[in-house]
């Protein structure tokens, strides 16, 4: 089964007004179950909007969206996706465990099961020793791991991530990338991942979706031909560099890429 289908999707903010922004235009994309797909493109090309459409946080002006075989709205009501943002967005009045329990509370789980699941998720992100800490007592990377544990708490088949490592330093970021692949191995989740970093997209993904701005369109989809387990050696692999070159050239072809900037060559 396909995890996500976008069928001729367009999206305008404030349609019919002078402040109309045509954020996305004619998006066709189909994501297979278990696939890791990254979205990359200059700032303002509609990456976040695309993710928010799949999450049913905004509605498309045109087109059809299917998520886990149902409408995007039904998927949201059924808690079949989890979401993480650039800012961890933890609730600072809740300790780490109760942050992870929040989606379970809203899904109507009882206290015992919630606690058990939260412990399991915290073990998955290797924060079991920090369950009783408050968010402010954790580093940025640890907070982001709590946010991932929270996004995965209901065991959703789909994980949507909007530049989740964008605010982390380079070392922490590479560590988190490896952690994410390990978590994905354990859960088998489908992942849609927005990033500004070409190496990050290539290292993590099965496919990299390259987008152009005004209006946001998909210009190219790059298949990443990395074989075997991805680890630190992958970053020195020929296929890794080939992937980076291909994505970079696709981005160069995007009109206005230079002037818009916002994509990170590191």
């Amino acid at each position: 089964m396909t995890a996500v289908v976008l069928d001729s999707v367009s999206m305008s903010f404030n349609p019919g007004t002078t402040r109309e922004v045509n954020a996305l235009d004619g998006i066709d994309l189909s994501i297979t179950e278990g696939e890791f797909v990254s979205l990359i493109g200059p700032s303002g090309c509609g990456k976040s909007t695309l993710l928010r459409l799949v999450a049913n946080l905004v509605e498309p002006t045109e087109g059809r969206i299917l998520v886990n075989g149902t409408s995007a709205e039904q998927a949201r009501r059924d808690h079949t996706y989890g979401m993480a943002f650039q800012q961890a967005g933890l609730f600072d009045w809740r300790n780490v465990r109760r942050n992870v329990e929040l989606p379970l509370e809203l899904a109507g789980w009882d206290r015992g099961r919630r606690r058990e699941r939260a412990e399991e998720m915290l073990a998955l992100v290797k924060l079991d020793d920090f369950a009783d800490h408050m968010p402010w007592q954790l580093s940025g990377g640890m907070q982001q791991r709590v946010a991932i544990a929270r996004a995965l708490a209901t065991h959703p088949p789909l994980l949507l991530m909007d530049e989740p490592f964008g605010a982390l330093d380079e070392m922490t970021r590479e560590h988190m990338q490896a952690e994410l692949l390990r978590i994905r191995e354990a859960t088998g989740s489908t992942i849609v991942f927005v990033t500004h970093s070409i190496p990050e997209a290539v290292y993590l993904s099965d496919r990299v979706v390259v987008m152009s701005p005004r209006p946001g369109r998909i210009t190219r989809i790059v298949d990443i031909a990395l074989t075997g387990d991805r680890d630190d050696d992958t970053r020195e692999d020929q296929a890794f560099f080939a992937g980076i070159t291909e994505v970079r050239e696709s981005l160069r072809a995007v009109e206005g890429y230079q002037s818009h900037g916002g994509v990170d060559d590191r």
Partner: protein
């Protein structure tokens, strides 16, 4: 380490305070200032200990007025902030009004209230305190209920949370530090408002009455003794509210968002 930090926080004001009182005493003695001009700290202290019972009784009257008004103002302010959160129109009408009121000395309303009730009633003073506290709490708590992190709202929507869940799990907890900040601002204000209201007339029983009346009768040392009582009362209200605020902000590891008076 903790002792050193505590000492560095307490020691400078303490040293300054002692030096100030010593200089005052020296000034009065050195220049032989008359008690009706400025009494010496030692004279004030003995007036304070001699009249301890009277000062305490007056402090209880003023403190009671401040406390009743404070609690009523908090309750009403919190209730009204929920109404404000629900209605954009109400918010646009009331918020500028509440802020504009800071520029007007609404304390004069106490004269209006006094006219409404018998001259032996404490109600006008409590109403006055309540009104001033009400606006401080209203503005701050309404801000806390509204200014929720957009990420939190998106997350709640992604969990298909009901409006009631959003209120209980996001807006109300978000507003709690704003409430304590409001109380920290409102508590000393409540005490000052009680004093000034008592000064405006009505029953002759609070600190706000005895301070000016003793000065008027040239019993300056006694008047200063009541001033000490007033300082202690204000300090008590302030310290309790700071303590309450610290309990919440320590748990959250940061001070709450900017307060509006």
């Amino acid at each position: 380490m903790r002792v050193a930090r505590l000492a560095s926080a307490v020691l400078p004001p303490l040293v300054w305070g002692v030096a100030f009182v010593a200089a005052w005493e020296a000034l009065v003695r050195g220049f032989d200032l008359k008690p009706y001009f400025l009494p010496a700290p030692t004279a004030i202290w003995s007036a304070f200990t001699d009249n301890l019972g009277l000062v305490r009784a007056a402090a209880f009257v003023s403190g009671g007025n401040a406390l009743v008004g404070l609690l009523l103002g908090i309750a009403l302010g919190v209730a009204a902030s929920f109404a404000l959160m629900r209605s954009n129109l109400l918010n646009e009408l009331v918020s500028p009004l509440a802020i504009a009121l800071n520029a007007i000395p609404i304390i004069v309303l106490v004269a209006v209230f006094q006219n409404m009730f018998t001259s032996t009633s404490e109600v006008p003073r409590r109403l006055m305190v309540m009104l001033i506290v009400f606006f401080i709490v209203l503005v701050n708590v309404a801000k806390g209920l509204r200014q929720v992190s957009p990420i939190h709202l998106e997350l709640m929507r992604s969990y298909a949370a009901t409006p009631r869940s959003v209120l209980v799990k996001t807006r109300i907890p978000n507003a709690v530090p704003y409430l304590f900040t409001a109380v920290k601002i409102a508590a000393p204000t409540a005490v000052i408002t009680a004093f000034v209201s008592e000064y405006f007339g009505g029953r002759q029983n609070g600190l706000g009455y005895f301070i000016p009346s003793n000065f008027a009768n040239s019993k300056n040392a006694v008047a200063w003794a009541y001033v000490i009582g007033a300082c202690l009362l204000g300090l008590t209200f302030y310290l309790v509210s700071v303590l309450l605020e610290n309990i919440t902000s320590n748990r959250r590891g940061r001070a709450p968002g900017g307060a509006t008076t």
